[in-house]
């Protein structure tokens, strides 16, 4: 019995309650509040890392209140940790620690509730990763959501935040209600809430209409959270307005948790009933590719630094979904490492953007052109992280890139590499332009967008002369961590993650572990697993993507010197703008239409 499982979730909750109860104590001592929050988050990192170390030899289960299952029937709630779930939770805790450190000096005044909400968000993430009960999953999902809505609206003096928070909250709530309906549906059939027990039940009812519909409904909330097209609209609105440390969590792990949820739900509850079907895999793959393309296209035409990064997150979310969607161990291995590498560099990019806002008072790429020259360290970190986003070896993303490429069909690889080049190029364009003044100086302002970005100034007072160490160190540390993980790839990271992926995908082992306390250390891969090594091809691809990104960045920065002028087709631009309208009614309509299309396709494919 391992109490760490319970403590990793309940300690941050207890601290959140304690600092709220003792609020007057912290009125004059904000450092105490920051310290308490950072120490708590860091201790959660340690606890989760210990859990991760313990589960390398096989998953472990913790039964709350000691209600162990009897004869294959669970009456309590369990936590089930494997390497992948514990690893993702650890990643989330690391990012929370970094974000809390960053916000120490970032916010001038900050209410106790900010810290409490961040800790609650942390607990929600951890619970979501570790739980083995489908309703419990929903509870932590909701908890994470509510904390996130509140954090998005944290600076209500801007005009933006409420719009973003409202769109975020309403779309996510609808997704959550659909998920809950799916849970009710599967409960009505199986009479179980434990995911292993449901898995055992669905395996006995393969292809039942109840199972198919419940699967998609449960996915609804997760797809919304993962910002998969056409459920992605909320993400850019929320990112544009949420405070930077919060953006770090949204892009770094919250979106990825949605994808983790999809993988978890599929492999623990439905893989036996729905099978490793070619059609289902193709559906997820196409969905991922479309998302990647849409995200990359929107990212490219954006000049608001935070929205730009937000759209690149959508693009990467699509890549992850495609990698998970191939439904084999190598794809999942690639997705897992990709998520880690992406989270680290994306968080660093957001933190650098926060520093730019802190020092220069705006996040408009054009207005900032060349103004970031003084921020030498920040600029360096930004560009290195940007290259990391473009899969430059030895940043961890290149490893993942190689593995996902090996796992996917050729056409998807080509398109996804194109998306990686485009988003990488966009981020590098911004970095080179802002921090090094590369490219032609801007000429005229589009007044509307200029006004929008100018309103971002409220987070901190403008025109500061130095960057506090607590702001730059987390950014630099995260980038270094991404490189370190990449270097691990040369010393056997691949096979270890792949073993974890095989275990994650083995439903039989999962059920036996949870319901019958079996310890199976060597599960069998449902597909013959190709070895996850660092190959010359993956290094070359990584270098090529990075080079391509740099080329795109330079081409767009010097576009006015090009012999031929590339003009966007105005009508296409208008259509693109029309989709991202900011009107919540539109988002709801797309969500419903998207669910209907997916439902029709899944019903056709699976039955």
């Amino acid at each position: 019995m391992d109490q760490l499982f319970a403590l990793a979730v309940t300690v941050p909750l207890a601290v959140a309650a304690a600092i709220s109860a003792l609020r007057p104590l912290f009125d004059q001592r904000r450092w105490l509040l920051d310290l308490a929050a950072i120490v708590t988050a860091a201790s959660v990192v340690v606890m989760l890392a210990m859990i991760m170390a313990r589960v390398t030899g096989g998953d472990q289960v913790y039964w709350f209140a000691g209600f162990r299952p009897a004869r294959g029937i669970a009456i309590g709630i369990d936590f089930e940790a494997g390497s992948l779930s514990a690893g993702l939770a650890t990643l989330g805790a690391v990012l929370v620690t970094a974000a809390m450190t960053f916000s120490w000096r970032y916010f001038e005044r900050v209410a106790t509730y900010y810290h409490a909400l961040m800790l609650i968000f942390l607990a929600g993430m951890t619970g979501f990763c570790l739980t083995g009960d489908i309703f419990d999953l929903f509870v932590w999902f909701e908890l994470m959501g509510v904390a996130a809505y509140a954090l998005t609206a944290y600076r209500p003096e801007e005009r933006g935040p409420l719009q973003g928070a409202l769109n975020f909250a309403i779309t996510n709530s609808i997704g959550a209600y659909l998920s809950l309906s799916g849970i009710a549906l599967v409960y009505g059939g199986s009479g179980a809430l434990n995911m292993a027990q449901i898995g055992a039940w669905t395996t006995r009812h393969p292809g039942s209409r109840l199972v198919v519909v419940a699967f998609l409904l449960i996915l609804a909330g997760l797809l919304v959270k993962a910002a998969i097209v056409p459920f992605h609209f909320w993400l850019a609105d929320a990112h544009a307005v949420a405070p930077t440390p919060v953006c770090v969590l949204f892009s770094g792990v919250m979106v990825e948790l949605g994808l983790y949820g999809i993988a978890r739900v599929y492999w623990s509850m439905f893989s036996g009933a729905l099978g490793h079907q070619y059609g289902l895999s193709r559906l997820l793959l196409v969905l991922g590719v479309v998302t990647a393309v849409v995200g990359a296209a929107y990212s490219f035409r954006e000049r608001h630094l935070k929205r730009l990064l937000a759209f690149s997150t959508i693009s990467h979310s699509g890549i992850f979904l495609a990698a998970i969607g191939v439904l084999n161990p190598l794809g999942l291995t690639g997705a897992a490492v990709y998520v880690a590498g992406h989270a680290l560099v994306k968080a660093a990019l957001f933190l650098c953007t926060g520093i730019v806002l802190h020092r220069l008072g705006t996040v408009d790429e054009v207005r900032l052109h060349g103004r970031g020259r003084r921020l030498r360290v920040t600029g360096l970190v930004y560009v290195v992280a940007g290259l990391g986003l473009a899969d430059l070896p030895p940043v961890a993303t290149f490893l993942a890139e190689g593995w996902t490429d090996a796992a996917m069909p050729g056409w998807a690889v080509v398109i996804l590499l194109g998306c990686a080049v485009l988003t990488g190029g966009t981020v590098l364009r911004a970095g080179l332009g802002v921090f090094y003044g590369v490219g032609d100086p801007p000429t005229r302002q589009a007044p509307r967008q200029a006004q929008e970005t100018a309103e971002e100034t409220g987070e901190t007072d403008t025109g500061r002369q130095i960057t506090p160490l607590t702001m730059i160190i987390p950014a630099a540390a995260l980038t270094c961590a991404a490189i370190a993980v990449g270097c691990l790839g040369f010393t056997g990271l691949g096979p270890a993650v792949e073993a974890a992926a095989v275990r994650f995908q083995d439903q039989g082992t999962y059920i036996a572990t949870v319901l019958h306390s079996a310890r199976i250390s060597h599960p069998v891969a449902p597909f013959p697993a190709s070895p996850a090594d660092v190959t010359a091809v993956s290094v070359a691809t990584g270098l090529a993507v990075a080079a391509g990104s740099a080329t795109i960045a330079l081409l767009t920065l010097y576009r006015r010197r090009l012999p031929l002028r590339i003009r966007p087709w105005p009508r296409a631009v208008a259509i693109l703008e029309g989709f991202q309208s900011g009107v919540i009614n539109d988002y709801v309509a797309w969500l419903v239409l998207g669910m209907a299309c997916l439902g029709g396709l899944i019903a056709l494919i699976v039955r």
Binding site: R159, A169, S173, I174, Y177, L185, Y187, N585, V588, V592
Partner: protein, 114 residues
């Protein structure tokens, strides 16, 4: 009677979503969200119902009486209370939006966003 309650569930979801799509007022939209949400309670309690079953309290009835499912009731019970607070959070967003822009029409709010 076999599927009728579930048809009602689908109707409630549909009408609630319809209200959200056509609404021109944020508070009305949030009320429609409450309607969508209420469908989950009807569904939960509907799937756990047992024809002729008693309520799951064994204070004054013998232990082996046939009773309806207590689990869905527990889930719905907490959800009713908790989601009310979440709704209040959404309403406070609406109040703030109104404060800042003087309107609660989603269309106008979006165009104001810039």
């Amino acid at each position: 009677m076999q599927i009728f309650p579930f048809i009602v569930v689908v109707w409630i979801v549909g009408i609630g979503l319809y209200g959200m799509v056509t609404s021109r007022h944020l508070v009305h939209q949030i009320i429609c969200l409450i309607v969508v949400q209420s469908s989950t309670y009807v569904l939960l309690l509907g799937v756990g119902y047992v024809t002729g079953g008693a309520a799951p309290y064994f204070f004054d009835i013998p232990l082996h009486t046939r009773a309806v499912d207590p689990v869905v009731q527990a889930l719905a019970l907490t959800d009713v209370v908790v989601e009310a607070a979440v709704t209040a959070l959404l309403l406070s967003f609406a109040i703030q939006a109104h404060k800042r822009f003087g309107t609660l029409d989603p269309q106008e709010l979006a165009s104001l966003r810039g």
